[in-house]
Amino acid sequence: MTEPKSPAAKEVWITGIGIVSSLGEGLDAHWDALNAKKINVDDKRFAPYIVHPLAPVTFDAQIPKKGDQRQMEAWQRIGTYAAGLALDSAGIKGNKEILGRTDMIVAAGGGERDLAVDLAIMTADAKGNSSPAFLNERLMNDLRPTLFLAQLSNLLAGNIAIVHGVCGTSRTFMGEEAASIDAARIALARISSGQSDIALVGAAHNGERSDLLVLYEFGDFNLKEKYAPVWQREGGSGFALGSAGCFLVLESREHAEARGAKPYAKLTKVVADLAQRKQPGAVTKSLEALWPKLGVAGDSGHLITGATGVEPVTSEEKAFLRQHPGFAVRATGTMFGHTLETQFPLGLALAALSLSRGALFPPNDPTGLEVEKADSPDQIVVVGAGHWQGEGMALVEAVK
């Protein structure tokens, strides 16, 4: 691949942020929670598995029609809600002219299954009661017709279009953690090259799902028995699934200035790779190869990572972090749990928020890997290394 040829790459600002998570909703609530080192986990509902449940949210505030809410599964409601917060924050909610040409890239998984229908079929099968027609008949009779639309990956974007009127282009990227790294990367590339002026980028995840726990349990990725911060899981590695939605409004500086919008920060660079994780140290190597592409100034600074807490990737990321000891690290997984596709936008959002407030939020880590850093950041690096594949980084900078 060649380097971008365009010498006049446009500056891209983050002008809107929407977050809803286990810590609450909106920027002030999250800033306060992070500074209070708040963590919200539920170790009973899915015991022995631990999840970070969504804080109470009044969906009506962003999804006024009950009919729309009913058409969505939880992950779509979370995402549509967070998208609305981001549009509010950017000051473009309801602005048909702008929304009609706003490009959207959503990173998505899929929706929850009808657990009762699944279990009824599975138990009948286990009893030997399933004729060849049994599966077909049960599915035909028992599945809600609209459930499919609540499960389809691209229907989070579809719902955002319907509820908020974001209808320039609509693309849904899939592929766990890497999907949202690429969503940010492509949106940035399109805006900085002039292919787009403004974009809504983000993801949503419902971590309170038995069917997801089963999927990740296949690979022994779930944190069990006792909650521990991300850096302190030597006794039992894993991630605690978290519920969260996070969206960003990205736009060219010219576009933002023309409408008088204020930036939280600028998104300078997003890089990504797919290491073949067959040899020990592959992730460390991949992250090391991405680092010089970011344009980080100096050997000290601030870094927010979406480290999952699963092994071996977390140890490999630690090895990378040890090579950059001047950077104050914060792991979002400790406070938010692992929110898969949402983790990287969350890192970008918290970086932009920190830059706009002139401080990085405090460490929340008994192991000492995370240290206090009082100076006001100019740059924050955001790191994402997926639980099984995909690595990426971004550089978020203060707008001066």
Binding site: P4, G158, M174, F218
Partner: protein, 425 residues
């Protein structure tokens, strides 16, 4: 050919390799022969029991099998076959070393029934809940299913096998996915981020639950007998689409890079366009404005006027709503020129390959340009009097074709169009 940039100063994006698999067969040659002979790949499903289903036919790719049997595994294999064909034709890079990124349109992934039932049987009880399922899920017995049922697994496999560069992108824009994969590749080359891109779209997801899901939305044809006659685009008695499997792959390159290495240029992706419909989850805005806007954006992106399009490869699903809406919107965009544009729907023969359709039909559009012959819309016995397209009905038609518009519309308000030409415009 002309300068390496188009009239807007962007790098011209050309196609130097193509591959295709459908229910008609593997490869361009077999597909083209059957497609222009008006053969149907639709048949009664034999892969699983059809008892109790309302729609019992599909365009399954039965000549490819995978073990263990999963839709995602078949999806992956179909993509691999189409990519191998495209890379062989393009003769680009070295083996397992493709010099650019991968954009993959792929159906959403989830744990499938055979594996779910296997898990249930592993519990060893006849009454159980998710707690019991969780208890047996871990410990290494089902590790392979984690990998298999990750959304990124197909792209990861292709990226490793073909040595594409960077982070591969898996995407879904429902039935427009294949067109979106091509669009992402075009954009990357136009930005100068890449000199070449591998764009693949694949779907092997004909399984009981997938059929049931579309069936419950009343989207599928129920004219099961004979299965080959079920898909009737633009006919008065059409009653829905027929699910199908397939894959399409394209090697895109900048004109400059393709000519520098002496590659044979198969065609040009002259324009791409996309416009979201915010009206409803499954239905188009009654005024058709988003689809009209999508086609106009595509014409503008290519720098072409409506009268310069001389063939439309329609989305043409054969659902009552799609075909009517597609005609109404196309009529607005093309106006008095429309009667002069032959229109055809490949879905009459290969069915609706869902996530793959946009790329499969783009490959067929380029073959149409190459052979100057338009594949027919079969089963066109009772024309819908409200659809006044010049439908290429039942038999292929030789025609002078210089620019093809290929349309894709999907659930979730997804509209995407491509314009493919033989020469740079």
């Amino acid at each position: 050919m002309s300068a390496p940039s188009d009239k807007f100063g962007r790098p011209i994006v050309v196609v130097t390799g193509m591959g295709v698999v459908t229910s008609l067969g593997a490869g361009k040659q077999d597909n083209w022969r059957k497609l222009t002979a008006g053969e149907s790949g639709i048949r009664t499903v034999t892969r699983f029991p059809i008892d109790g289903l309302k729609s019992t036919m599909a365009g399954t790719v039965d000549f490819v099998t995978v073990d263990p049997v999963t839709s995602t595994g078949l999806t992956e294999r179909l993509a691999e076959m189409a990519t191998e064909e495209a890379l062989e034709q393009a003769a680009i890079g070295a083996k397992a070393d493709f010099p650019g990124p991968l954009f993959l349109a792929v159906a959403p992934v989830e744990v499938e029934w055979p594996q779910r039932l296997e898990l249930g049987r592993a519990i060893g009880k006849t009454e159980f809940g998710y707690d019991d399922m969780l208890r047996v899920s871990g410990g290494g017995r089902f590790t392979a299913y984690h990998h298999r049922f990750m959304f990124g697994s197909v792209a990861s496999h292709l990226a490793e096998n073909f040595g594409t560069k960077g982070s591969p992108i898996s995407l879904s824009t429902a039935c427009a996915s294949g067109a979106t994969a091509i669009q992402l590749g075009v954009e990357a080359i136009r930005r100068g981020d890449a000199d070449a891109a591998l764009c693949v779209a694949t779907d092997g997801s004909v399984n009981p639950e997938a059929l049931v899901r579309f069936s419950l939305l009343s989207a599928l044809s129920t004219q099961n007998d004979p299965p080959q006659a079920a898909s009737k685009p633009f006919s008065k008695n059409r009653d829905g689409f027929v699910m199908a499997e397939g894959a399409g792959a394209m090697v895109l390159e900048s004109y400059e890079s393709a000519t520098a290495r002496g590659a044979k240029i198969l065609g040009v992706v002259a324009g791409c366009g996309e416009l979201t419909d915010s009206f409803h989850r499954t239905r188009s805005s009654p005024d058709g404005k988003p689809i009209i806007g999508c086609m106009r954006k595509t014409l503008a992106d290519a720098g072409l006027e409506p009268e310069q399009i001389d063939h439309i490869n329609a989305h043409g699903t054969a659902t009552p709503e799609n075909d009517k809406m597609e005609y109404n919107t196309t009529a607005v965009v093309f106006g008095e020129h429309l009667p002069k544009i032959p229109v055809s729907s490949n879905k009459s023969m290969v069915g609706h390959t869902i996530s793959a359709a946009g790329a499969v039909e783009a490959v067929f559009s380029l073959l149409t340009l190459e052979h100057q012959r338009i594949p027919p819309t079969i089963n066109y016995e009772i024309p819908d009097p409200a659809i006044l397209f010049d439908v290429v009905g039942n038999t292929a038609r030789d025609a002078r074709v210089t620019a093809v518009m290929s349309n894709s519309f999907g659930f979730g308000g997804q509209n995407a169009s491509l314009i493919l030409t033989r020469e740079p415009v």
